[in-house]
Symmetry: C2
């Protein structure tokens, strides 16, 4: 076992700020209320662009350091122009990035220095559902599989526990496995 | 009512190819089986990068025209360096882009020319769950709200129906509202 005690920047995580944030929230739980927002704009065909800029959290309105833009499209085989990943791939990416961010924070909090860490994700989908050709087939993924490869200065069992803890504290994993209420309104003008 | 009959490129959608694809799949349903894949690599702290390249579909292995890379991070208020949207924002983006791609295809199939179309999404999340500070609070979003603004050459009711049909044929909406089985394996070496 080769763990180290936490320092201010294990794995690039400022653990002092991390623990300070947790203390602040413990004393004032309303700081933990966040609202995230995105705006997707149609471009042409299946190509669209989403911008990410402002959000609410820790008691006030905030903005990212700059606006982010994310393109999505279908590949040619799905009658698009391949200007970006498909929405289904973006969904897998959201899961992978959420698990990975959590894992890095948890490792830092435990003083475990990470090496190379990757998460490969596969999602199986039968497009008969989306195409409206078989009402017994769901629209979404039938199954999603995540395979983590974790290198770090700790025993294999400890590294595996980082993944399990990341899963148990992942916003996206929770939404994907348990669902979330989604309302959709339309304004036409 | 100002709809037009479908032409080969309504809204930038090649409707001939779209209908041809549906016919091909109707005759050979196995073509509809797809597998999407992503690989997320840890960079530092909560910053990670996901690459999207190969996928399986329409009976063979395929690759995008080039590899896509998507960064994710936390903002400073969540102890990150803001090198990309948060995973939670990526999740909202996946929903918005999926609904938007579907809407454009459906409008094209119906011969409805679109003008400006946007989807604003808000997701409320209480981070007490993720922080492990309140076991009664879920990790994921409590509620997601989508607001579409749709302009197009059709009556308001028809434009609203495009949104409802997009919802009824959305892979990401299905996964978010109904959940999906997710397995997570770990290899440590």
């Amino acid at each position: 076992m080769t763990t180290t005690t936490p320092t201010p920047a294990v794995n690039g995580v400022n653990t002092e700020a991390l623990f300070g944030t947790l203390d602040a929230v413990r004393n004032q739980p309303d700081l933990a209320r966040f609202q995230f927002r995105t705006t997707t704009r149609w471009i042409s065909g299946t190509h669209n662009r989403t911008t990410v800029n402002d959000f609410h959290g820790a008691g006030s309105e905030r903005t990212h350091v700059h606006e982010f833009a994310i393109d999505a499209d279908h590949p040619a085989v799905l009658v698009g122009n391949d200007n970006g990943p498909t929405p289904a791939e973006h969904l897998l990416q959201a899961l992978g990035s959420c698990l990975m961010s959590g894992l890095a924070n948890i490792a830092a909090a435990r003083g475990i220095e990470l090496g190379e860490v990757t998460a490969r994700i596969e999602g199986d989908i039968d497009l008969l559902g989306i195409f409206g050709l078989d009402s017994s087939v769901r629209n979404g993924f039938e199954q999603v599989r995540v395979t983590f490869h974790v290198q770090g200065a700790a025993e294999a069992e400890q590294l595996a526990r980082l993944v399990h803890q990341a899963r148990d504290r992942s916003a996206v994993y929770d939404v994907l496995t348990n669902g979330v209420p989604v309302s959709i309104d339309v304004a036409t003008a």
